[in-house]
């Protein structure tokens, strides 16, 4: 856990959950797991606020608790999980591309609320969809719940661990201080049988009933919620690992498309889709698939013969990047996708392109050279790179000082005398990738701070425009004349308007979303490819 990561976590918590939650969360990240009383003491916050903040964090799966000996409950914040808040828009967008607006709203609601029961999600989404529809049309609950089932079937949403049923002899022993949540592997994606009947309700927003309507409605609503839903207690959350798996598959497919052609990428896509659910997200290989199976599963519109497919598969298996490997000859040839290898190559390509963009193509040449040859002496670098010795030294030292290249000393004699020592330059790709990842986190944090500063500086202007908008809206609602509206609109002067525009543009630019996206992902992948660094992959994604 680096300072940059902690800083970024703190900013994210503050922006999404407010100051108090940020304080508690950051304290937990810094100190590791702690019991409630220590948190209260350590942060100097009132007990009630700490409790509420912890409730919020637990609700959003950012903090977990564990019972320790002597019945003390300890709370632990998960930094890597908090950093995933950065990727929420991406998850939501993915859901939209896969399952249209309904899927988008389901995932968005789950992310907004951390965890929800299925009935609550379906109701909320149906209401929201109804609101955007034309008058008279409504969204059926059944339709939303069918999309929900599809999301669960493809593992994009999963059940949260359940509270165990209280044992019969509850009176004999006192209940534990905290419930032990557990879930059966099989039930993770099991949708409870619900018959949700109804339609989304439109929120009454028009002015005429604003004063009178909501009051009598209120008690009715609470009465409704009194009777427990049949799926009470079964909470669902977005399965972020599954989303990451989807991102991974997509970039493998894209890489293949760039390297070979559309058809081969389609074949790889088919293979990945077939093994989507059978292969766990951290596995190094997909399940072996025979070419006959692949042929049967190709999309309908794809008219290629079995022969062409076999040729393509052979070609893919012979490719030096080894994205696809051949694991056997039965069934017309068994093929696997070498996931870790693919990720590692993608990450290496990203690393090289970063060196190229930051230090120029000649530095990149040196970098690639050291990467390929593993260990090189300075003299060898100068010769092999075919760059004048003085410049080559300069570049090499620059890369060394940026920690992209490391230096290995091998003394010939035990006294480590420089004249009798080999100095070998090498690329430690794991640490280089980690360093760049950390730098990404740092720059995201910087960008967020910059945006906050800019917003603070222009607070008066922003408030004014907000106010004018509010007045305009209320005037419009009461049916004001055009001239009146115009007059109010002119309350913001032209230079002010200009300033607002530029601010908006800049703030948009600083909303950190795009910049780290590629970097962080590829490094994570790369690290994932390095075998035992599996946990790291998820942090980066």
């Amino acid at each position: 856990m680096t300072q940059a990561e902690i800083k970024l976590c703190s900013l994210l918590l503050q922006e999404h959950f407010g100051e108090i939650v940020d304080k508690i969360g950051t304290h937990l990240i810094r100190t590791g797991s702690q019991p409630l009383r220590a948190i209260v003491h350590g942060t100097g916050t009132s007990l009630d606020q700490v409790k509420k903040a912890l409730c919020v964090l637990i609700q959003h799966n950012l903090v977990t608790y564990q019972i320790h000996k002597r019945g003390i409950v300890e709370y632990e914040a998960h930094c890597s999980r908090i950093l995933r808040i950065l990727r929420y828009p991406r998850y939501i967008y993915t859901a939209k591309t896969l399952y249209s607006d309904t899927g988008e709203l389901i995932v968005e609601e789950l992310l907004l609320n951390g965890k929800m029961t299925m009935s609550a999600v379906v109701k909320k989404v149906a209401d929201r969809l109804t609101e955007t529809m034309e008058d008279g049309k409504t969204m059926d609950y059944a339709e939303v719940s069918s999309t929900f089932c599809r999301l669960a079937d493809t593992h994009f949403v999963q059940r949260c661990p359940l509270v165990p049923d209280p044992p019969e002899s509850a009176e004999a022993q006192p209940p534990p201080p905290a419930p032990t949540l557990s879930i059966n592997e099989k039930d993770m994606y099991l949708v409870p049988k619900l018959n949700l009947i109804g339609k989304g309700k439109r929120r009454r927003s028009s002015d005429d009933d604003a004063a009178g309507e909501p009051r009598p409605k209120r008690p009715k609503q609470t009465a409704e919620s009194k009777e427990p839903m049949p799926d009470d207690g079964i909470y669902w959350q977005a399965n972020l690992d599954r989303f990451h798996q989807h991102f991974r598959d997509q970039s493998i497919v894209n890489a293949v498309a760039n390297r070979m052609d559309q058809t081969s990428s389609e074949i790889v896509r088919t293979m990945l889709r077939m093994s989507e659910i059978t292969t766990s997200s951290g596995a190094p290989f997909t399940q072996p698939l025979s070419s006959n199976e692949i042929f049967r599963s190709l999309p309908v519109g794809y008219n290629i013969s079995k022969q062409v497919l076999d040729q393509y598969l052979t070609l893919l298996a012979d490719d030096p990047l080894e994205f696809v490997g051949k694991s056997g000859d039965s069934g017309g040839g068994m093929y696997v996708i070498n996931l870790h290898k693919a990720l590692a190559s993608l990450a290496m390509a990203t690393l090289e392109s970063i060196v190229q963009e930051r230090f120029g193509s000649r530095c990149a040449r040196i970098f690639r050279l050291v990467l390929r040859k593993k260990h090189l002496e300075q003299k060898q670098v100068e010769d092999f790179a075919m760059i004048p010795a003085k410049e080559a030294k300069d570049m090499l030292y620059k890369l060394l000082s940026e920690n992209l290249i490391s230096l290995q000393e091998i003394p010939k004699t035990p006294d480590h005398a420089p004249s009798r020592t080999f100095y070998l330059y090498t690329v430690n790709s794991l640490s280089a990738a980690r360093m760049l990842l950390r730098r990404c986190y740092k720059s995201i944090a910087n960008l967020i701070e910059r945006r906050q500063f800019e917003t603070r500086e222009n607070k008066r202007l922003l408030e004014k425009s907000q106010r004018v908008e509010a007045i305009l809206a209320s005037m419009q609602a009461t049916g004001a004349e055009e001239a009146q509206l115009q007059e109010i609109e002119e309350m913001i002067t032209a230079p002010e308007r200009q300033q607002l525009e530029s601010l908006k543009r800049n703030v948009n630019k600083w909303v950190p979303l795009v910049l780290p996206q590629l970097l962080a992902r590829s490094f994570g992948r790369f690290l994932g490819g390095m075998g035992d660094q599996r946990s790291y992959i998820f942090q980066a994604l």
Binding site: S46, Y88, P177, V511, L513
Partner: protein, 226 residues
Amino acid sequence: MAGNKGRGRASFTFNIEAIGFARGEKLPDVVLKPPPLYPDTDYKPVPLKADEAEEYMLALKQEFRATMKRTPYFMDTEEEKQEIERYSKRYLKSYKDDDLEWVPDWRRLPREMMPRKKLTKGPKRQRTKGTAKVPATLMSTVDVLKKIEDLEKKGDEEKSDEETDEKEGGKGKRKDDDDEEDEAADEQEEYDEEEQEEENDYINSYFEDGDDFGAESDDNMDEATY
């Protein structure tokens, strides 16, 4: 090595020509200050990807952040109370959605998370008031406007005029009461914190129950609704 000594150059244990300094060349000065905050870059960064998908995700991100601020999960430090309510503030209040009340599922949480009945009363009351007040003032202005419209229609019915006067007077009074109660609650809260350490709070709760919560007492006090 030894040959380097006494030639005006710091002695190195190795041949410095190997790292690119020609014979007789000056060595760079020792740097004693930290590197600049914004160093120059040799190469211009590549422009950001800007396609429809990115734009959409950007919009999603901003919307998500704005929505989070309105959810009950967002805990901000309570603002210092200003003596005069600024007119400009009125339109800025992003009041939380009423239907978004959040009752944590206590079955899933450690028992110590569950606020004890007495402890929650102090802050809870404040909270409900804090959120309830804003719509209330807005409401009341709407009410008054409506009333005035009615009055314009009705013309010279003095009776109803008196009624509004009374009502408004009543409202003002109630507000005063609220303020007092707030202060009382503040004191109560501080007191509570000291008390909770010792856990012998039955006597206090006895007095507490006698307290009247005014107009807002009808909602469910047993569970903390955030």
